[in-house]
Symmetry: C2
Subunit: 315 residues, 2 copies
């Protein structure tokens, strides 16, 4: 099997380069990859040499989360983000992984790697656990204000991704909306509905909030504002609900014992809602694959972000 | 204690008038109310007489969920919805409760009962359970496309409601958004942030999705599209997550026993996420109180919708 070369921005994560390099090391034990690390060389060398097999390319500057993306991208051509993206663009690597600022990554990826023909705006896609399996939610935050045609394109890109990476044949695509009927919604979804019907994908119509996790669609599309609020709400809700369950269980002796016996089941479920298990959100609609890893990614999250590249490139 | 007269649309619910009248009967046993039922008299008489103390006003027509609101409202002046709203407007009752179509109720209430001075758009508010208590989410679906000033007004109305009906002093109001920083968001939230700062209410800034149920704000505001998707997502998520927990628990003998022992705790939690326990969403920003009960309200939900009127009118 031919090895997959992956460019990795080691400077963007909240936990620093050591956690990211540890994740790369974990991925190397499982997948046929050739990692290329971008970042401040003296910060990376020791960790990388300890593990071996990692190439380092020195990038002297870092784009900070607070910097306005377009400006940061123009000024810091020697940053780990810009240099890594150029490396992929020039064909030296197949994919790029970064835990840095979404805005800068989106701007940089669009300007350097470029949009695919026919795509107006790249978008972030995230896989959510549903009772029947998985649902791809997109856009999760790349495009705050959308035009109807963007949503139609999200549907097409999402369907393609689920078919290619998750092996789902003819994926069902739904439009997140406030009612089942075609005429429901805001100005954006009313127009997007009409366009989605014309795409030729398996469009199953509107999906109300309560059906998103019920498994009625393999891909659900919305603007990046709604998607981001929903995605973070899911993280918070799972945590809050587990907390409420814990509070209730600890309130009596009988249920305390019940909680103890049910511990294994809870741990398994917690894992399903742990963002580190998914590892990252693909930025779809570009000429090459870019994975946005969660800002607070630890080694496990980085390993799983790399797994997504492997899945994508080996099919 | 002076009795509160409540006008009730008996025709709007999915379960028919009998369930609604049963709920009214339950409320009469607990609260000092004088209910006035609007609907087709021959459908109500038997149930109402069985319980006693209910006044019936015959309304020969019904507004169906599929009818365009403005048109339905103009054509069916003799419907239970229109006649009940007029009764409240004319001062014969203090509040109105309906499980009928949100659109028709909103249009009718705005045109008949009228908006409060300084309010551009009435909005639906729903109380969500949070780990620390409750959070009021508004707008939950009355206004699909909002202007920034609507969101600022939602904040003011929501704060007033939580202070008056839930006894929360100086309620904290948050703006649902994609990041904590002021400059984050879509065009709507960026402008709404500036306006909310100027309202004089206790505005605590942006609230990300993961913090909505963590209890960081007593009131969270957003446009009616986002709010409706979130509200229904909450209903569905609680159900899906409980289902996933059940699936996991049933997968082994030890955890099956655990589930049995923890049953009481689960039942209590399920109740917290049961919309019937809240009973209805107040339509805020009108000259009198209107409660939108869930379309599929049963007797318990109607009783609790009436409890909201009692809470509101007795403070």
């Amino acid at each position: 099997m031919k090895k997959i070369t992956i460019a990795i921005d080691t400077m963007g994560g909240d936990l620093g380069p050591a956690a990211i390099i540890e994740g790369v090391g974990m991925a190397m034990l499982e997948y046929p990859i050739e990692p290329v690390l971008f970042g401040t060389e003296e910060l990376l060398r020791e960790e990388a040499e300890k593990r071996g097999g990692m190439k380092i390319i020195h990038a002297p500057t870092v784009i900070e989360p607070c910097e306005p993306p377009t400006l940061a991208f123009r000024r810091k051509k020697d940053s780990s983000l810009v240099m890594g993206l150029k490396y992929v663009k020039d064909g030296h690597a197949q994919c790029f992984v970064s835990a840095g600022s979404t805005g800068a990554l989106l701007t940089g990826a669009t300007m350097i790697i470029g949009r695919r023909a026919g795509i107006s705006r790249p978008a972030l896609a995230t896989v959510l656990p549903s009772r029947k399996g998985f649902t791809l939610l997109m856009d999760c935050g790349a495009n705050m204000d959308c035009r109807p045609e963007y949503l139609a394109q999200f549907g097409q890109m999402g369907a393609e991704y689920m078919q290619k990476c998750m092996g789902i044949k003819n994926p069902r695509v739904g439009l997140i909306n406030v009612g089942a009927e075609e005429e429901k919604g805001n100005l954006l979804t009313k127009e997007a509905y009409i366009l989605l019907k014309e795409t030729g994908i398996n469009f199953v119509g509107n999906i109300e909030g309560r059906e998103i996790l019920a498994g009625g669609a393999d891909v659900v599309v919305c603007d990046g504002f709604t998607g981001n609020v929903l995605l973070k709400f899911t993280e918070g809700f799972a945590k809050s609900l587990m907390g409420m369950i814990k509070d209730e269980l600890m309130s009596s002796g009988v249920s305390k014992l019940g909680a103890l016996l049910a511990k294994g089941a809870f741990a398994k479920l917690k894992k399903r809602f742990d963002y580190r298990e998914v590892g990252g959100a693909p930025l779809l609609g570009l000429n090459q694959l870019v994975i946005k890893a969660h800002g607070s990614s630890d080694a496990l999250a980085i390993k799983n972000a790399i797994r997504q590249c492997v899945l994508h490139e080996s099919t």
